[in-house]
Amino acid sequence: MGDALISAMKTSASGLEAQSMRVRIISENLANAQSTGSTPGSDPFRRKTITFGEELDRMSGATLVDVKSVQTDQTPFGLEFDPGNPAANAAGYVKMPNVNLILEMADMREANRSYESNLQVVKQSREMISMTIDLLRGGN
């Protein structure tokens, strides 16, 4: 019985880890929202995306969640007219990163919510374990 509760906590811990990795990717995207290339006509920063997948922990039999892949978003870059920029091509246009700030913020909110939920599960599982341990602390 304790085993199931421990594996519940393990699963939630893997969820916490996956969501924090997601926040890391989002912050990379946000930090590089204006990172252009450095040579004329070169590609700027490309937005990263993250995908989760189920994973079986053979030790405990718990189903964990893991980062399956981090890929790059293939949406085309936007062009901005800025002839003075070192990354400007012959026509004076600079390729801007394909990062959408609103999208990243929405994604971050969702990651935050999922993180909180996982944390709540850890708290409750721990509470249940201590309820069981409290049975030993009889006295009455």
Binding site: A4, T11, S125, M131
Partner: protein, 125 residues
């Protein structure tokens, strides 16, 4: 002894509740996993029904053992509910609601074990 039976039932319930907790934890952890379907376990009543099996005896000298060591409860996938574009149908609100329910049932269960224990101790005084 009936006291033992009560304890047995309470232990089974605790077992069922903790398995449920781990299944719900999986749902919450996989809330953003593509093509993941929410899972739940069979209700406690039907879990008990399926557990009350007795071993077949082919000779009268065989000991009739009832299956007290329970198999782990069956897990079923929930295919209903609105599925997101990613093919995931976990609703965090729903899962957290179920988790709260599991938690309070567990509290009730441990409370019951405590009082069973008090009953047994009272008879020994």
């Amino acid at each position: 002894m009936p006291g033992i039976q009560l304890m047995n039932l309470a232990v089974q319930k605790a077992d069922w509740l903790s398995v449920r907790q781990s299944i719900l934890a999986q749902n919450v952890a996989n809330a953003n996993t593509p093509s993941y379907h929410a899972k739940d376990i069979v209700p406690f009543e039907s879990f008990l029904d399926s557990a009350q099996l007795t071993m077949a005896t082919s000779n009268e000298r065989h000991i009739n053992v009832s299956a007290s060591a329970l198999e782990s409860p069956q897990v079923k996938q929930d295919r209903s509910g609105e599925s997101a574009h990613s093919g995931n149908n976990v609703s965090l609100e729903n899962e957290l609601l179920k988790l709260g329910e599991t938690n309070s049932q567990f509290a009730l269960n441990t409370g019951l074990i405590k009082s069973f224990h008090r009953m047994i101790s009272a008879s020994l005084k």
